[in-house]
C-alpha cells in the first residue's frame, strides 16, 4: 500500500452501522467485542456509527421478521451509495433455525442485495472482522465502478469454500 492511498483512501476508515432484524442477541454479543480492547477493530480504522446516513458498511443480524421488515428496508434505503451489506449469523444468512416460520419475511437476501455472508450461530468475532476487512476491498471496487465478477472466497485459516 502506497503512502498516498494509506493517507487519502476513504476505505481505510470504514464506518459501520448495525441493524437488528429480529435476532436473538447472540450475534450482537459477538459484534460488540469487536470494538472492545480484546479484538479492537479500530486499529483497522473500523468505526461504529449511530446513524445509517454515515455508514459505509451495514451489518444485519437476524432473520428479517414481518414486524422488522419495514424498518429494515427504510434504514437500508438511507445508507448512502456505495455501501456493503453483510449478513451476520445463520439467521441473517438463511433464516437458520427460524427458516420457514410464518413470522419471517426474510432471509435478507430475498429483499436486498447482500455482499458478504458470515456463517455460524453465532459467528466468532474474528469471522465478522474478516468480513469487515473484506468489505473494504468490495467498497473500493464499487467506488471504481467495478464489482467482483467471480464469487469471493475468503480463507484465513486454510479452509476452502465451495468445494
Amino acid at each position: 500500500m502506497s503512502l498516498w492511498s494509506l493517507l487519502f483512501d476513504p476505505e481505510n476508515s470504514i464506518w459501520v452501522y448495525r441493524i437488528n432484524a429480529g435476532s436473538c442477541n447472540g450475534c450482537e454479543i459477538e459484534i460488540t467485542p469487536l470494538f472492545t480492547p480484546r479484538y479492537d477493530a479500530e486499529r483497522f480504522g473500523i468505526k461504529w456509527v449511530g446513524t445509517p446516513r454515515h455508514a459505509d458498511v451495514v451489518l444485519v443480524t437476524g432473520p428479517v421478521t414481518a414486524v422488522a421488515k419495514e424498518s429494515v428496508m427504510e434504514v437500508l434505503s438511507q445508507v448512502p451509495d456505495p455501501h456493503v451489506v453483510i449478513a451476520v449469523g445463520s439467521c441473517g444468512v438463511s433464516g437458520g433455525v427460524f427458516r420457514g416460520s410464518y413470522a419471517l419475511e426474510g432471509p435478507l437476501d430475498n429483499l436486498y442485495p447482500v455482499d458478504l455472508y458470515v456463517l455460524g450461530c453465532p459467528p466468532k468475532p474474528e469471522g465478522i472482522l474478516t468480513a469487515l476487512l473484506e468489505a473494504k476491498k468490495i467498497l473500493k471496487a464499487k467506488r471504481k465502478g467495478q464489482y467482483q465478477e467471480k464469487p469471493l472466497v475468503v480463507d484465513p485459516a486454510g479452509m476452502v469454500m465451495g468445494r
Partner: protein, 192 residues
C-alpha cells in the same frame, strides 16, 4: 492503599503486551471442545436418516440419485449444535474443531456433501447400498475387501445360502477378480 494497587497496575501495563488479539496476523486460538464445522465420512454412513430427522435447522438433506443416495449439509443454515454428531449411530459425522469461521459471498455453495453408491450383491448381482466401514468393523473386527464383500451380500442371498457357501463364493470372486464394483466398494474413487 488503593493508589498503590493502581500504580502497580500502571507499572505492569508499561511492560506487558497489549491484550488485543493479533488476529489477522496470528491464527485464531480455539478453546477445547469448540464446535466448528461438521465433517462427513461417506464411507461410514448407512443413510439411516437420523441426522435429517434430528437437525433443528433442517440443514441436512438426503436425496436419491441415479446409482446411490447423496447426503448434503447446507452450512448457511447449520447452527453448529453438533446434535447430528451425537445421534449418528456409526460415527460418520465428526466435529472438525479446526475451522473457526466461514465468510463467503456465495452462500449456496457452502455445502458439505458425499454419496453412498449402490454396489451389486456378489452372489445374485442385485443392487444394494455400499456397506458401511463402521458396521463392517463392528461385525467382523477389520475392514478388508473380503469382509466388505461379505457385508455386501443381499438379505435374500444370506437366507438362501449357508455361510460356508457364501465364503466359498467370495473366495472364488477374490481369486478371479470378477466383482464389477470393487472400486466403489473400497471407496477408491472417493465417495464425494
Amino acid at each position: 492503599m488503593k493508589v498503590g494497587v493502581i500504580l502497580k497496575h500502571i507499572w505492569e501495563n508499561l511492560f506487558t503486551e497489549p491484550m488485543t488479539k493479533k488476529f489477522p496476523k496470528e491464527p485464531v486460538q480455539l478453546p477445547e471442545g469448540f464446535r466448528g464445522r461438521v465433517g462427513y465420512i461417506p464411507e461410514n454412513c448407512i443413510m439411516c436418516n437420523m441426522c435429517v430427522l434430528n437437525c433443528p435447522a433442517n440443514a441436512i438433506e438426503i436425496k436419491p440419485e441415479e446409482d446411490g443416495k447423496r447426503w448434503t449439509l447446507h452450512y448457511d443454515r447449520c447452527i453448529n449444535c453438533m446434535i447430528c454428531v451425537e445421534v449418528c449411530p456409526v460415527e460418520a459425522l465428526y466435529n472438525d474443531d479446526k475451522e473457526p469461521f466461514r465468510v463467503t459471498s456465495d452462500r449456496i455453495s457452502a455445502i458439505e456433501t458425499g454419496k453412498v453408491p449402490m454396489v451389486s450383491c456378489p452372489i445374485c448381482g442385485k443392487k444394494v447400498p455400499r456397506p458401511s466401514n463402521t458396521m463392517v468393523k463392528r461385525m467382523m473386527k477389520e475392514v478388508t475387501p473380503r469382509n466388505l464383500l461379505k457385508a455386501a451380500v443381499c438379505p435374500q442371498c444370506k437366507k438362501d445360502h449357508k455361510p460356508e457357501e457364501i465364503d466359498a463364493i467370495i473366495d472364488k470372486i477374490l481369486e478371479e477378480g470378477s466383482y464389477p464394483d470393487m472400486d466403489k466398494l473400497l471407496g477408491k474413487e472417493g465417495l464425494r
